[in-house]
Amino acid sequence: MSKRTMTLNLTDAEMRALEDLSMRKDLSKTAVLRQALRLYQMLDARVEKGDKLVFENEATQDKAELMLL
């Protein structure tokens, strides 16, 4: 699959978050961003369809709905 290259400007905090995810998820920074794009696109498509995005903690029984803007 052909790939295209772009320059990404990030703040220090954003770069730290990217590096942290890269380390914890055992992924390159590019792979983290591609994964983020996949997830964002899928969530956006589901929310556009009318689905709700809900986080649930089985231990505490807490439920929270996430609003995608």
């Binding site: 998820k25 992924l27 899928m42």
Partner: protein, 205 residues
């Protein structure tokens, strides 16, 4: 739409010949037409034969209710990839994978993997009592394609799937680790392949 392809081979068990096949990186209208016009009647005939032989329903094909036309609807999303295998002008197997799931195995828990959502070979390529399977090799080619994708995406070869009961021995033979029944997914057993096993599998291809 035209998809990328890679040459591969299947073994014709009726002649013991190796026949050229294609791994297609996508599921197109032609594959869906094959599923509808050839797989469905073949499945009906297979079920009728199994019924006639008195084979219990628990031993009948377990993927017969899968609707591939509906499964490719989300194809345009980056989260999903589809694959098919064709040989002698006919679709021989189909697979859809999800790239948004994470591993459950201790040590890699929370790290991304390629999750095999659906993998089905044509009814004439499945083994059932009293029937002669046509082609061998389509399932392993698709499983290897999932592993290859996992390496390409930087997921280190990790793959996961929920297995239908009939397919459990196959995934165990491929070295996948059984993490037990999953109450969230109809109590199907959940399996994962480690990076090491994935590397070995690709080396054997």
């Amino acid at each position: 739409m035209t998809f990328a392809t890679a040459p591969t081979f299947l073994r014709d068990l009726t002649t013991d010949d190796v026949v050229p096949a294609e791994l297609v990186y996508g599921i197109g209208v032609n594959h869906i037409m094959d599923w509808h016009n050839a797989w469905q009647p073949a499945l009906g005939a297979l079920k009728a034969a199994l019924h006639e032989q008195g084979v219990p329903k628990s031993e009948w094909p377990q993927t017969g209710h899968w609707n591939w036309a509906a499964k490719v609807v989300e194809d345009e999303l980056l989260a999903f990839r589809t694959f098919s295998i064709t040989a002698e002008g006919m679709t021989q197997a189909l697979m859809r994978v999800d790239l948004t799931k994470t591993a459950r195995l201790e040590g890699v828990s929370g790290k991304p993997l390629v999750y095999v959502d659906y993998l089905e070979v044509a009814p004439w390529n499945q083994s059932f009592a009293g029937t002669q399977k046509k082609y061998r090799g389509a399932g392993p080619i698709l499983l290897a394609a999932a592993v290859e994708l996992s390496f390409e995406e930087g997921f280190k070869g990790r793959i996961g799937l929920h297995s239908l009961p009939q397919a459990e021995p196959y995934y165990e033979k491929e070295g996948m680790i059984d993490l037990g029944p999953d109450a969230q997914v109809q109590n199907l057993r959940y399996y994962e392949m480690t990076s090491d096993v994935a590397q070995t599998l690709l080396a054997q291809e």
